[in-house]
C-alpha cells in the first residue's frame, strides 16, 4: 500500500515538474477573487479588479507573462510558501506578523479601514463603546480581524472566509457591523444589497496592526523579484499607467501619502 502511494506521488510529481520546467518565464500570481473592487470574479469566470489591472501593468513593465491563480484567503501565504504561485497580489497589507513568513515589496496602495453598519442599527461611531454588545463580522486572517479582536473586546467578533460573506450576513441582519477596507465597503454599499447599510466612520490606522499599506508578497529571500516589482511599481507610477487604473476604479487617489 505504501509503495503504490509513493509511486503515485512520484509520477504526479514528475509530470508536474516537467510542466513547470517549460514555463520558466511566466510568473504565477496568487489572488483571492472575492474582494471587489480589488479582485473578484465575473459571471464568465474572469478575474477583474484594481489588483488584477495593476498586476498586469507590472508584468508588462517587467516583460514577463503573468498567470493568475485563485486561492482562498486564509491559505494564501502557505500556498505561496508551498510554491503554488510566485507572488501574491491581493491587497495584502504589509505587516510585521506576515513579514516573518514572506517578503514584501513597497506598498502599491493604502486606503484606511472603516466600519459599515445597518442604517437602523444605532451605531454612530467606531469606538469600542460605540460597538459594545454588537456583533461585528470580519474576514479572518486580515488586519481588520486582528484590529477588531484587539479593540472591540466588548463585542462579538465573527470570522468569515471572505469579505463577500460578511456582507451577505450584514445585509440579512445576522450581524450588526462589518470592519473592512473603506474602498471595499463603498463598492458594496453602491450595490442593491448594500442599500441596508452605511459607513459609520473610518478607523485611524495603527501602524503596528495596519502597516504602511498593501504590498506584493513573495517567498522569503527572493530579493531579486522584490527589486523587480519595486522598479515596476515606480515605473507605472511615473508613466501614468497607475493613475489610469486608479481612475478606472476610484474617484480619489488610493496610493496615499
Amino acid at each position: 500500500m505504501r509503495i503504490s502511494k509513493l509511486l503515485l506521488a512520484a509520477t504526479a510529481t514528475l509530470a508536474l515538474a516537467a510542466g513547470a520546467a517549460q514555463a520558466q518565464d511566466t510568473l504565477r500570481i496568487g489572488t483571492e477573487g472575492a474582494y471587489p473592487p480589488f479582485n473578484n470574479l465575473t459571471a464568465d469566470g474572469q478575474l477583474v479588479g484594481f489588483d488584477i489591472d495593476i498586476a498586469n501593468a507590472l508584468c508588462d513593465e517587467m516583460k514577463v507573462k503573468c498567470e493568475f491563480v485563485t486561492q482562498d484567503w486564509d491559505g494564501i501565504i502557505p500556498a505561496l510558501q508551498a510554491g503554488k504561485f510566485d507572488a501574491i497580489i491581493a491587497s495584502m497589507s504589509i505587516t510585521e506578523e506576515r513579514k516573518q513568513k514572506v517578503d514584501f515589496t513597497n506598498k502599491y496602495y493604502n486606503t484606511p479601514p472603516a466600519i459599515a453598519a445597518a442604517k437602523d442599527s444605532g451605531i454612530n461611531g467606531v469606538s469600542k463603546e460605540d460597538l459594545a454588545g454588537k456583533t461585528i463580522g470580519v474576514a479572518t486572517s486580515t488586519i481588520h480581524y486582528n484590529y477588531s479582536e484587539l479593540t472591540y473586546t466588548d463585542s462579538t467578533i465573527k470570522g468569515y472566509p471572505t469579505s463577500q460573506e460578511e456582507q451577505l450576513d450584514l445585509a440579512s441582519g445576522r450581524i450588526d457591523a462589518i470592519n473592512d477596507d473603506i474602498s471595499v465597503l463603498e463598492e458594496w454599499l453602491k450595490t442593491p444589497d448594500g442599500a441596508c447599510c452605511h459607513i459609520v466612520g473610518t478607523i485611524t490606522p495603527i501602524p503596528e496592526i495596519h502597516g504602511p499599506g498593501a504590498g506584493i508578497a513573495v517567498r522569503k529571500g527572493e530579493t531579486a523579484l522584490v527589486e523587480k516589482f519595486n522598479k515596476a511599481i515606480d515605473a507605472i507610477r511615473a508613466n501614468g499607467k497607475y493613475q489610469e487604473i486608479n481612475a478606472k476604479y476610484f474617484p480619489y487617489d488610493v496610493y496615499g501619502g
Binding site: P78, G137, T140, N146, G159, P161, D169, A171, S172
Partner: protein
Amino acid sequence: MTLATTADDAMPVPKARAWTRERVAGTMLLGLWAAVFAALAAYLVAAWNPELFSRWAPAYLSGLGTTMLLVVISTLLGAILSVPVAWGRMAKNPVARFLAYCWVYFFRGTPLLAQTFLIYYGAGSFSGWLQEHGLWFFFREAWNCAILAFTLNTSAYQAEILRGAIQSVPKGQWEGAASLGLHTVQTLRKVIMPQALIVALRPYGNEVVLMIKSSAVVALITVPDLMGQTRLAFSRSFDFQTYIWAALIYLAVVEALRHGVDWIERRITRHLKR
C-alpha cells in the same frame, strides 16, 4: 498511539518465528510508521513554541467544547427525529414509505456541507420573509443553523440504522411475542429493541464518529469549533504544527469513543458468549 488490536496479538510466542516474506514486509512497514511518528515527534519538539501554545490552547479547548456540544445536541435531536422516519420506512402506508424514503435519500445523497450552506446562506436570503413569520430569531444564529443541518442529516442516517437493527431481529420474535398476547408497542419495547440495540450499537458509534469528523465543516459558517480555531491559529501563525495539534486531538477523541463503544459492546453481549 495505543491500539486495541494489539491486545490479541499478545499470545505467548514459544519459539522463534521464521522470517517469512510477510514478516519482513510487516516489519518494514512498522519501521516506516515508526519513522513517520519519530519524524513527527521530532518536528513537534523542534517547533515547540510555548508562546504559541499558551496563546491558542484556550481557543482549542473552547473549540473542542463547541464541537462536542454540537455533536451531542444534534445526535440526540437526530435520534428523536429518526424514529418517525424509520417508522415511515417500514410502514405499510405507501405515502409514508415514499416520504420517508425521499427524506433518507435526500439527506444521505447530498453533501452535509452543501446542506449546511443551503440552510445558513439560504435562510439569509429569505431574512425578510422569515422575520415576518417570526422565525428569523432562530435562523439568525449560525449555531442554530448548524444544529438544524446536522440534526436533519444525522436523522436520515440514524433512521436507516434503526430500521436495519429492527429488521435484523428475526420475524419469529414478533410472532412469538404476538402469541404471548403482547401488543406492538410492548413487543417493540420488551422484545425487539433490546435485541436491535445490540446490533445498532456499533453503527451508532460509527455515526457519532462520523458526526465528530464532519462537524469540522461548521467553521465555514462562522461557528468557532475546533477546526475553526485551528484554521484561525494557522492563518495567524502560519505554523503547521497547529494542524498537527488538531489532528492529535481529533484522533484522541475518536479513539476514546471507539474504545468506549467496544467496551459497552463487550459488556452488553456478555450473555451471548459461551
